[in-house]
């Protein structure tokens, strides 16, 4: 449902069939694993069986003699990487760590860490050859948990890593804590001293994976002229290009990255893993090489999100949240770079709180290097604060939504970093939740409970570039460089159709490769419909201008005498009205100045932040501990919903991932650092049978920073579910769970005192 009033738009807000829909449902769409090239051979990687070890020696000689083998690769084949940070399109990357994560050099830092690669005529030959590679390891004790890793006597992942402060100071001794950050305001201790009620708890979450269906893949052809072509599944072909160029020390202009259709990413398809390996195997073998990950590889060696430990203390006085003290420790995985900064920055953003001190710690552990995962850092932080607020509401006898409304952030409220919010929609979300049919209905029956929670995500702008070429039949080819994960071919084509006053189906969107369109940042940060949408709008205005000029020239008037609206150029004088349609001008392009091409290229500013408030009803089986989601309502400020079905889809998808995170998903490690559940059988993501229809309530508070009011919508829906479900379980059982997942095992052990 939506709460929109009458729309001023003709195309925006409708629900056309996506341009890529037919190809996808008929199986014709080409994904990375579908790439087949003449002479193509198959690459496979050898991965470390140890979570933490020095590599003393790698002997590949026997593997090189195996049948069908055309190339074998170790880190020695990579150019020496510089130990320095570089901005490569998605945050800064340490080049040596980037290179070492692709093929380990001196040390393996997690089980599954790649150490060598083979290319052979068949995948089976490549697999058999891997078994002949001899790697001598000196095995070290692994450290797997963030709190263990922070202890002074913990095994060190790197002897040269010191804790960095924003001040530039470094710790005296090497540490697994890569950095510390802090947000602070007011007098926290004084506020606690005056509080009516205080909740103090430790919250923990486990490492979880994005769970995209499609494993990572890369096919590369190192061509005779020294150019490289890469076909891959990625959220950002330009980031792949930049990172491959850096790892291989190869000029960026000689690398062409062709983004294939993408079977899910959620942040996990931003880093590169296989692309440089496929490229070098191709160079060595002289053949195109395709490399695929198995599902186990994906779990063990791609980029899940952090396990976390958050120590939190919250105080209220007269119903006002007056004090928060929080220590957030996030697992970065093998190399520094957890999303603890985002967690710390965003955890209090739905609220106006005067006194707080938030400390964040980025901690390396012997697990895969974490990557972005949908609102990275925010869900764990929201799990903590939103659980604590629920307990406080009960303590002071307040309705949990009323407590959130009373303390809501509004325009002008300062975020923890001190900046003032522009127009935001949290209060509207809480109001819509309070007034929803769901919240107003009673929750009845034994073992049932209801929970609510809010969430915030900052959203991104960044760079986008598009070209729109007008065809002589009045259609428009829209060339964009943002890979389409969530229906953005549709949402961008719709914005161009709206700008040009044309029907949706005359716009033909295509996602182009890195040789065929200007630079685009990744499809991530909920930015594509927002930022590429702005570029599309700019390209549409460019076409409008050219159409007006052509028509005006024909009529012998100045361009500013004519107007463009509803797909027509109009000249109005006292005596007459002349009109030319878009198609008529397009048809005559050859004789009026040549092809009409619009362009839009920009760094988008003004990404509005996203807020959401969720309501969930659960039933807990007291004998088995199994939690059933009975009803779920997700209220979200979506700015303007360009294609409401895909906005609802984003919200529903985020909620489902949140349900999985809350109830069952976790990296389950044995003591040696082996993930014991690296399959979809045992890594228990929800299936369609585990979730009810999720009711998405779209609150449309248009973003003033976008021509059509767009806000990013994709990430914030995963922020509230963890706490909302914990709060519902507490309501149903009287037991407060502060550790995820709230699996049947943990629930039944808690309810029956079994552990």
């Amino acid at each position: 449902m939506t709460t929109t009033e009458r729309s001023p738009y003709k195309v925006i807000g409708t629900r056309p069939i996506r341009p890529d829909g037919v190809e996808k449902v008929t199986g014709k769409a080409q994904y990375g694993a579908d790439v087949r090239l003449p002479g193509m051979i198959h690459g496979r990687l050898l991965r470390s069986p140890h979570a933490h070890a020095y590599i003393r020696r790698i002997d590949t000689s026997a593997a090189e003699k195996m049948p069908g083998v055309l190339a074998v690769l170790t880190h020695h084949d990579f150019p020496a990487a510089r130990d320095e940070m570089q901005e490569l399109g998605e945050g800064a990357v340490n080049l040596k760590e980037l290179s070492d994560n692709i093929l380990a050099s001196d040390k393996v830092l997690y089980r599954g860490h790649a150490v060598a690669a083979v290319a052979a005529l068949s995948p089976h030959q490549a697999e058999e050859a891997l078994k002949k590679i001899v790697v001598e390891y000196e095995v070290l004790p692994p450290v797997l948990d963030v709190m263990d890793a922070m202890r002074p006597d913990a095994p060190l992942l790197s002897e040269t890593r010191f804790t960095r402060e924003m001040t530039g100071q470094k710790s005296e001794k090497p540490s697994n804590i890569a950095s510390h950050l802090q947000f602070k305001s007011g007098d926290v201790e004084a506020a606690f001293a005056e509080a009516d009620a205080i909740v103090e708890r430790d919250y923990t979450t486990k490492m979880v994976h994005q769970g995209y269906i499609e494993p990572h893949n890369a096919t590369a052809s190192w061509n005779a002229d020294g150019t490289i072509t890469i076909w891959t599944s990625t959220q950002g072909p330009f980031v792949v290009r930049a990172q491959v160029a850096e790892v291989l020390r190869h000029p960026i202009s000689t690398i062409r990255v062709i983004p294939m259709e993408i079977g899910g990413g959620f942040g996990g398809k931003i880093p590169i893993y296989l692309d440089p390996v496929a490229a070098l195997l191709s160079k060595k073998s002289g053949r195109p090489v395709k490399v695929l990950m198995s599902r186990t590889d994906v779990f063990e060696a791609s980029g899940p999100t952090s396990g976390t430990h958050i120590a939190l203390k919250v105080g209220v006085k007269d119903g006002v949240i007056t004090a928060v003290k929080a220590d957030l420790a996030y697992e970065a995985g093998a190399y520094a770079g957890s999303p603890v900064g985002a967690g710390a920055l965003m955890m209090l953003s739905p609220y106006n709180i005067e006194n707080f001190q938030i400390d964040g710690y980025d901690v390396v552990v012997n697990k895969p290097k974490t990557s972005a995962y949908r609102a990275p850092g925010a869900p764990a932080a929201a799990f903590a604060i939103e659980s604590a607020l629920d307990e406080l509401a009960h303590k002071i006898g307040a309705d949990p939504l009323e407590l959130r409304k009373k303390n809501t952030a509004r325009e002008g409220t300062r975020r923890v970093d001190g900046t003032a919010f522009p127009r935001i929609g949290h209060e509207e979300c809480v109001d819509a939740a309070l007034n929803s049919a769901h919240y107003r209905s009673p929750i009845e029956g034994p073992n049932r409970g209801r929970g609510v929670a809010s969430g915030y995500w900052i959203n991104a702008g960044m760079q986008s570039s598009v070209v729109a070429a007008v065809n002589t039949d009045g259609t428009v080819n829209l060339i964009e460089g943002s890979t389409d994960i969530g229906g953005t071919r549709a949402s961008l084509a719709m914005q161009l159709a709206e700008t040009l006053g044309l029907p949706f189906d005359v716009i033909r969107p295509t996602v182009a490769d890195t040789d065929s369109v200007g630079y685009n940042d990744v499809t991530g940060g909920s930015r594509t419909t927002f930022a590429s949408g702005m570029a599309v709008h700019e390209a549409g205005l460019d076409i409008q201008r050219q159409m007006r000029e052509r028509a005006a020239k024909g009529w012998g008037v100045a361009a500013d005498a004519v107007s463009y609206a509803d797909g027509r150029v109009t000249l109005k004088t006292d005596s007459e009205t002349k009109e030319l349609s878009f198609a008529e001008i397009a048809k005559k392009a050859a004789s009026t100045g040549g092809p009409i091409v619009g362009r839009g290229s920009l760094t988008a500013r003004g990404a509005g932040a996203a807020y959401a408030t969720h309501i969930v009803d659960v039933e807990v089986d007291p004998d088995t501990g199994k939690v059933t989601i009975l009803r779920y309502t997700a209220v979200q400020d979506v700015g303007t919903a360009i294609h409401p079905s895909y906005v609802e889809g984003q919200i529903q998808g985020g909620v489902v991932q949140g349900i999985g995170w809350a109830l069952n998903e976790e990296y389950y490690y044995d003591d040696d650092g082996r993930m014991a559940n690296s399959s979809y059988l045992d890594y228990r993501m929800p299936t369609a049978l585990d979730v009810p229809m999720i009711d998405a309530v779209l609150v449309e508070v248009p973003n003033p920073g976008h021509p059509y009011g767009v806000r990013g919508v994709g990430e914030v829906p995963i922020v509230p579910p963890l706490a909302a479900i914990a709060n519902a379980i507490a309501d149903a059982t009287g037991h407060r769970f502060t550790s995820l997942p709230m699996s049947p095992r943990r629930v039944v052990e808690e309810l029956h005192g079994l552990s």
């Binding site: 924003m166 970093d417 991530g524």
Partner: protein, 87 residues
Amino acid sequence: MAMVIVPAPLRDLCGGAARLDVAGATLEELLRNVDALCPGFYGRVIENGQVRPEVAVAINGEAANYPLFEPLSPGSEVTIIPAIGGG
């Protein structure tokens, strides 16, 4: 005058101040002027002519890849936050 919101870890450089009103028509000018009041501040934010990779500059609440010549208007609010990635 723009307002600089001093991040908690850098307040020691600024005598404990959480906010400063400082003149500056561009980001570069502003940060230089802050550095005059809080020695060392500029170097914590800028390295080799660019914002350091581990931090981001937010102007009026929006973090972006600002150039040093980014113009500021009177009343602009500038702060330094940890770099954030999105999924």
